[in-house]
């Protein structure tokens, strides 16, 4: 499997990951090598095998819908890059 430069740019956009132009080729070659490793999986037929999501085939536990957390807005916002009046600030989205 060979991953081209345009694939790299597309994936990077999907992942909202800026990448430097001079690194695109390197990513393409690294990812192609990794995909070659990954494709060894095709050696085995898995058509009737149930995919495995949890090692113990455990399903997600449910809990009752009750409030267990207290409001920690101020503590949590101490780690925020930019806040105002208790809100997270980002560049203007709508003109």
């Amino acid at each position: 499997m060979s991953i081209q430069s345009e694939d790299v740019l597309k994936i990077a956009h999907l992942a909202r990951l800026g990448i430097q132009q001079e690194q695109v080729e390197l990513y393409a070659s690294d990812l192609s090598n990794i995909m070659n490793l990954v494709e060894q999986m095709n050696q085995v037929d898995t058509s009737d095998i149930e995919p495995m999501a949890h090692p113990l085939d455990q399903s997600q536990r449910l809990r009752s819908d009750v409030v267990t957390e207290v409001n920690q807005r101020e503590t949590l916002q101490q780690n925020a890059p930019d806040i105002e009046d208790g809100l997270f600030l980002v560049p203007r989205v709508i003109d």
């Binding site: 992942a15 990951l17 490793l37 898995t46 949890h54 920690q72 780690n79 560049p91 989205v93």
Partner: protein, 487 residues
Amino acid sequence: MYNKSLQELSSSLQDKEISSVELSQYFLNRIKHFDGELNSVITSNEEAALVAAAEADKRIQSGDSGLLTGIPLLHKDIFCTQGLRTSCGSKMLDNFVAPYTATAVTKLEQAGAVMLGKTNMDEFAMGSSNETSFYGGVKNPWDLNTVPGGSSGGSAAAVAARLAPIASGTDTGGSIRQPAAFCGITGIKPTYGRVSRYGMIAFASSLDQAGTFAKSAEDAAMMLQAMSGFDEKDSTSVNKPVDDLLANLGDSIKGLTVGLPKEFFTDDLDSGIRETIETAIDTIKSAGAHIKEISLPNINLSVPAYYVVAPAECSANLSRFDGVRFGYRCDSPKDLEDLYKRSRDEGFGDEVKRRIMMGAYVLSAGYYDAYYKKAQQVRRLIKNDFVEAFKGVDIIASPTAPSVAFSAGEKKDDPVSMYLSDIFTIGVNLAGLPGMSVPCGFVDNKPVGLQLIGNYFEESRLLNVAHQYQQLTDWHLAVPAGYEQEV
């Protein structure tokens, strides 16, 4: 002092031969003296540690204490610690002060253990050499030109250099066992779901599991005992009572059947590693265990399947780092997309970016079935092989890693060759089984680790075999040259 077991240290504390404040200061001094060159501890907790140690001394005075009360330890910087920077080895979280504490850390705190600091690690636990850390690589105390392994390289190097008696780690594809092997110490990763993942920064949620580093199996058991157990706050935590991990350590292993997977002992195996492992197996045999060849027919597909499952889960987990609510944000973003893209480009290192891209690719429209679903199917085949094998054996043994510690820089620019250094450990994570690494000798003056794999929730049997092996050998007591000195 530095080579004393937890039992010995605990007795000294209980008998008031030494206080926890003195013991903590002793290890803090060792960190100050030796860690300049090792770079294993990235955040010191000195001030708070001495307060916690004084608290522990009070508990010991009042008789309200357990085995770990007053014992100093280090935590991998992947565990959130309230009020103390939790970086996960990344520039992205360089300024992140966790608003809450991981359950595993809380449990050890409640047991009275004293956190001296946080250890270096591969960025977001992605790496096998500790070279992807934003804070620089960690050096292996056995040979400063080599890597300590990864991703929990800081914890492993610190325990090997006797900078702390015990340390925590996490293991997604071998990140406890491989560094334990490279650094000549004992490390255990329990069954998936045994230790809570709450507050442990997620890399690949269906594989991540916390565990312990120690000098011996007995010490590892004592620490793991305190960390384990069901946690409401982790939806994948398993609600099952924890065995007494110390109760069976002394049992004889006579009559136990040890399986050797033929796929792990091929002609490609390094001859020095093979000889060392065979000698270790002979020792286990001499204690009365039966040795049996087994087959894990699909195990050669574990690295390929892992490099779909782990990156896919990583790309989803790491999407939370967007420069908005916490973590790194780029300077003067021109719009929201620029904010996301540049913050993530500047905040993440190369390996993390590579895995996010891999993950985004295998999950992208049209590829899901070919890669993610396929990998989850292969994963079941690998698990089934282990389940089948455990019908005929009690425990499985193999080398932990295909080589001893490699040189810094050797594999850094070749991701695939780096990934293959986890070839013996990854299958255990895919299956969710418990595994450990025990020091069993040296090749080229560098430590070799024996991997022991147990059936689900049989940590106690694993630790029993490892402890019995350590009664017959003293590899686990070896201290790297230069670090035997008292400071």
